[in-house]
């Protein structure tokens, strides 16, 4: 009934009905921003509703777990025991060919010194690859979502409020970007931008990976702002005709203040929702690009890259493939479901 199985009890459902009725009353009074019952702001109302959503809490715990794993990856990896063969603790980058037999398969399995075993061919520690692999996904996802949100909101505000040729230009730009075959263009642009930056010099693997990292963020931002821009533009277009904005304009409030103090606070909901849904989308997209060969490259530990390499060994050594598959799926799933819960919290009418 609310799109989140087994979460909402009847009490919650009743409360939502009640809140919906109240907010409808408030809207009828011509003031959508005021919650008549308690005087809470819409953001507060949404937050309170979110706290009662069990699925959202579970997702949040999972996301925080991955964030902590990424931040403290070196410490967590150091918890593994000293390897009896190599005589050292495993780290993320060191190649141990002594742990590999002549077929390229590992001679050690899951053990205290290698919680997830070691990588075929190179003998690097798979748990370390997994823990460090969470880093690029999270950094790219969150920073690209933040940047594209800022661009989307700015362009949407400009187009919607200024109107005229600015609006026409921005609308056209949105249409244009939406008509580009996204994946194809992105795949083609990544190596070109990389070559432009490198300027023909031969790059080491580390340099290539660093460049790819920033190019990926830039590309996700460049191709990801349109949806929010279109949404904000539409909302602003209708808000600027509302009485409170006209009143503000009539008493001579400067444009900047109207935009940021009068209009923007009304759009906090859609903006947060859009940003929270953008994060998992970008993480999945980054992994897809890495899988197709246009994303991150070795030696950076990345789940998408690992999945691409490990798929050829899925029959003989599934332990290489599965941690990354599960990590990526669970992280994206948790972020998406949390995004859905946030959307439901801001828009109770979507919970039916």
């Amino acid at each position: 009934m609310d799109g989140t199985p087994g979460s909402a009890t009847d009490i919650v459902a009743d409360e939502i009905e009640a809140e919906k009725l109240e907010s409808e009353q408030a809207r009828a009074l011509g003031d959508a921003t005021l919650d008549v019952r308690t005087g809470r702001s819409p953001g507060r109302v949404a937050f309170d509703r979110l706290k009662k959503d069990k699925v959202a809490i579970v997702c949040l715990v999972i996301i925080i777990f991955f964030i902590l794993l990424a931040i403290f990856a070196p410490l967590v990896v150091a918890l593994q025991a000293v390897d009896p063969v190599t005589g050292a603790k495993a780290d993320v980058g060191t190649v141990h060919t002594e742990l590999i037999d002549f077929n390229g398969l590992p001679t050690v399995g899951m053990s205290a010194s290698h919680w997830l075993g070691v990588e075929p061919r190179l003998g690097r520690d798979l748990f370390a690859r997994f823990a460090f692999g969470a880093r690029p996904s999270l950094i790219i996802g969150f920073s690209a979502a933040a940047a594209s949100t800022i661009i989307g909101v700015s362009l949407g505000l400009m187009g919607g409020y200024l109107g005229g040729w600015v609006d026409k230009a921005i609308t056209w730009l949105i249409d244009f970007f939406l008509s580009l075959p996204l994946l194809l263009v992105v795949l083609a642009v990544v190596p070109i931008v990389q070559l432009r930056i490198a300027g023909g010099n031969r790059l080491t693997a580390e340099q290539t990976s660093t460049i790819r990292f920033w190019v990926l963020i830039a590309i996700l931002v460049i191709f990801g702002w349109m949806g929010l821009a279109r949404l904000v533009r539409g909302e602003v277009k209708s808000l600027r005709e509302r009485e409170f904005v006209q009143a503000a304009r009539a008493i001579g409030v400067p444009t900047r203040q109207i935009l940021f103090k009068e209009i923007l606070p009304n759009l906090v909901g859609p903006i947060i929702v859009s940003a929270s849904i953008a994060v998992p989308t970008y993480i999945a997209f980054e992994a897809t690009l890495s899988y197709l060969g246009a994303g991150l490259v070795e030696p950076t530990a990345s789940w998408g890259r690992t999945i691409a390499d490990a798929q050829n060994y899925f029959e003989i050594y599934p332990l290489w493939l599965w941690p990354s598959v599960i990590g990526l799926s669970v992280l994206v799933l948790a972020l998406t479901l949390l995004g859905d819960s946030i959307r439901d919290a801001f828009d109770p009418t979507s919970r039916r």
């Binding site: 009934m1 075959p181 194809l184 083609a188 642009v189 798929q311 990526l328 479901l337």
Partner: protein, 328 residues
């Protein structure tokens, strides 16, 4: 009405033109050197490389190349290969640097595979998505509804390429439940059998969003007064659902369907790559790794044209349903 259509068509044309210019600038002005990639290091001396460049027309100024390409699209152009002149007819996309075949040929022989895949997936996701959506809407609030919607939410949230990859690895390669893709020339039977696996996973994943659209749309329609009127007249529940509910609920879904099919025709790249279906997406991917500029240009242009045309059809179709759109 006519001015609206003309205005939308003009806008669509300008978007296509801009795509043309942008892709041209990005790819042809890009730093990649097709001559070098045709001729791996140390194989060719400088003279030979220069000869290849002249042959491909890469030695001329960019504007000249662009005018030539543009001319080729509308009136056709002539190519000279080793003293022999080949004419390339009206929507001329040039010749592949790698295979030497015309790009039109390269793309149009593969396009049917992409179309078959997209349409089979579309049949699966409309049938599965709409059926489950109606079912969930009718059983609204029950445990069945929650399981169906929750399940589709979870299934739809996992990155698509992972699902497709696991499906291909285990169902096709490992357990051999479903057959591998084989070309049409090996017989229609095996061809369509091989398409089942990619179409199934693509269709099932896409169906999750249709389940939710249909459910929401149905719930909205079923709460309308005229549905209550129909029920109170004693019409059977089945007829109420199909004739009164579904028909009205389908409007927004058809719109999304139009856009999704356009997206599928251009976006089955991942599916084609994972299941090794020989469609335009996979060809484009190959071209990207070969620096095969004419083929990349051709696919990007073709995809943009498809998306823009479908957008136009949906917009115009929608303006017939809802006349208010025309005024905005």
């Amino acid at each position: 009405m006519l001015t609206y259509i003309l205005r939308r068509a003009g806008l669509a044309l300008s978007v296509i033109l801009a795509t043309l210019v942008t892709t041209f600038v990005v790819f042809f002005a890009g730093p990649s050197d097709p001559a070098q990639s045709l001729c791996p290091e140390n194989r060719c001396n400088a003279e030979r490389l220069q000869a290849i460049r002249v042959n491909l027309g890469l030695d001329r100024p960019l504007t000249v190349q662009f005018v030539e390409y543009f001319k080729g699209l509308f009136v056709g152009r002539d190519f000279e290969f080793a003293g022999e002149t080949t004419h390339c007819g009206a929507p001329c996309l040039g010749f592949s640097y790698h295979t030497g075949r015309s790009v039109n040929d390269e793309l149009f022989t593969r396009f049917p595979n992409t179309v078959v895949l997209a349409l089979m997936a579309a049949v699966i996701f409309t049938i599965v998505g709409i059926t489950i959506g109606i079912f969930a809407a009718v059983k609204r609030g029950s445990a069945t509804d929650r399981i169906l919607i929750g399940g589709s939410q979870v299934f739809g949230a996992i990155p698509y390429y992972i699902l497709a990859l696991l499906f291909a690895l285990y169902m096709v390669t490992f357990w051999r439940v479903l057959p591998q893709y084989s070309a049409f020339s090996e017989g229609a039977g095996v061809y369509f059998a091989g398409m089942i696996a990619p179409a199934l996973i693509l269709g099932l994943v896409t169906s999750t969003s249709y389940t939710r659209y249909t459910r929401n749309s149905m719930i909205e329609t079923l709460s309308m007064d005229y549905v209550r009127t129909a029920r109170s007249k004693g019409i059977s529940e089945r007829r109420v659902l199909v004739n009164h509910g579904l028909r009205a609920a389908m409007g927004p879904i058809v719109t999304i369907l139009g856009l999704d099919i356009a997206a599928l025709l251009t976006g089955t790249l991942i599916t084609e790559k994972i299941f090794e279906v020989d469609g335009i997406g996979r060809r484009a991917l190959q071209a990207l790794f070969d620096d095969d500029l004419p083929v990349i240009m051709g696919t990007v242009l073709m995809a943009a044209v498809i998306v823009v045309i479908f957008n136009l059809i949906v917009d115009i179709g929608y303006s017939f349903i809802d006349p208010r759109v025309r005024l905005s």
